[in-house]
Symmetry: C2
Subunit: 338 residues, 2 copies
Amino acid sequence: MLSERRLEVLRAIVQDYVGTEEPVGSKALTERHRLGVSPATVRNDMAVLEDEGYIAQPHTSAGRIPTDKGYRLFVDRLAGVKPMTAPERRAIHSFLDNAVDLDDVVGRTVRLLAQLTRQVAVVQYPSLTRSTVRHVELLSLAPARVMLVLITDTGRVEQRMVDCPAPFGEASVADLRARLNSRIAGRRFADVPQLVQDLPDAFESDDRGTVATVLSTLMETLVEETEERLMIGGTANLTRFGHDFPLTIRPVLEALEEQVVLLKLLGEVNDSGMAVRIGHENAHEGLNSTSVVSVGYGSGVEAVAKLGVVGPTRMDYPGTMGAVRAVARYVGQILAES
Amino acid sequence: MLSERRLEVLRAIVQDYVGTEEPVGSKALTERHRLGVSPATVRNDMAVLEDEGYIAQPHTSAGRIPTDKGYRLFVDRLAGVKPMTAPERRAIHSFLDNAVDLDDVVGRTVRLLAQLTRQVAVVQYPSLTRSTVRHVELLSLAPARVMLVLITDTGRVEQRMVDCPAPFGEASVADLRARLNSRIAGRRFADVPQLVQDLPDAFESDDRGTVATVLSTLMETLVEETEERLMIGGTANLTRFGHDFPLTIRPVLEALEEQVVLLKLLGEVNDSGMAVRIGHENAHEGLNSTSVVSVGYGSGVEAVAKLGVVGPTRMDYPGTMGAVRAVARYVGQILAES
DNA sequence: GCTGGCACTCGCGCACGCTGAGTGCCAGGC
DNA sequence: GCCTGGCACTCAGCGTGCGCGAGTGCCAGC
């Protein structure tokens, strides 16, 4: 177990390193923090911290920098979440309030987050699985061609073309539309399959095949679209990454283009709280020198999607976490209102 | 007027520089190309080319590199468009053929283009202005709340919520839906305003206000959505940019995040042909060291949107132009089929 | 257990000199 | 008149050597 003072030293190292981007030495530490002890003592503490794997020297006779393990301890035990200041909160509100539709909300959120944290922001579109159905629409485009439009309570719209096995009259379309809506409007997506299970039985045998086709397309939409879309922004902030440029940045850019990777990344958040994955804690190799701060957001109590930022492990964790949390909360409110 | 041989020298310089990324000298030129003259002669030609502003020396006693003006001449007079090979074409076809919807088509196109050219790809979603209306749908969500859904012939769907000034009955909704569709289905967006101008007159005075509101929302959708969405990809290729990294790449990343800038960039294409903007020919300052190759694509004869790539001025122009053109053509075909 | 002192390490920056690719110019030849 | 070989010149890049200073580890003393 590390003594109180040693933890204090670690905290000071993290803070200084994040601020200066340079290895921090014992003397500088005592000058910039009121540790109440001499550099020599700090040196001893540092030696211990290094033995334990919390800090490391890039080379002999240089200062120390935190390791992933050091950042982990810092985040878990030494740092709180820095709340946004009142002006910052006001700025967030006024920026997001002007959004006109879902795309706009997500777009604004991503820009806002990138700007606040000066890092790369990732925002997932509200997920369908936990949403509820606002409305289902069927349009007859041709005798055997129907368009299925699904509208969610988060304002998202999905459409699919359905080729029917047999001609499907306008009256039948209207009938199916009415029945579908009366059954599933306002219900959760997860419950839909069960609710429409016996729908084909209500139709004449000629139409049953078509009804079944439409329903299975509906299910597909629900399932397929669970692999969500997301939006990223602030990639220009990658340039602030470090000195050894192309090597660090390339795999990160590559990872950011792989939606699958990003979704998995965000997916690792457990619903309730905020998740911070530091350096090698990220499964994806290209992100081994980055940290990811993510959190769920939603219109109700439950999260419908995730958002977060990706930055260098050397980041201002309290500030970043504060910004991410504040933005997530307010986006949730916006979604609930609309 | 430059002699034939001097043009040949310029071509050789461009080709070598694009290949090696290093300033090319007179001796290397005569070795790698069959110019039929000695290095000394080439040196004289180079001096002339430099006087005319087609090439430049990064510093004394270094080889020459092409200037923007040099690349311009190269593109205009010395280089053709390099057609894709048969295997490449097959790869394009099979990759795009598997797309399931419009989002997927655009997503695949952007990845394909980035991969083929090893540069940053930008694809604009098919524009609404030149598209035609496939269907308009009105959904009554509440007594005084209607959702407007617009479906285009390119498969794009836009939706808007309309708050009505007065309650609007189901029957009226159905009536308006039917009238709207009979008038504008299959028509070009540009013609819509004129076609629906007198629609309110057909309704009872109670409903006229609502009808007018719906129509004006429809117009807004047409206009607003003319500022198109686009998708970019292959940003990881930016790392291949050059040696003086952060300085070059940062403004480019920033420009790429500004949709407005990109749209303007693509907008500069005149409908028919391919556009190549080299270095300082780009209005946006951040893109002064990049070239943009763009072209329109569409399902018919006319272009409905643009696509292109952004790369260093030192790029393989014939190859890039070939890839861009081939992809644009095939995407057009895909859209026409669906 | 903290502290001041001290010897040691080593990365960084800088000056220096060499090398070689590349140039410009010139006199001679086809 | 244009091309060519020769020659002197320039200069970026690279390797070497050196001094500085930040930072360390260790130890004796309080």
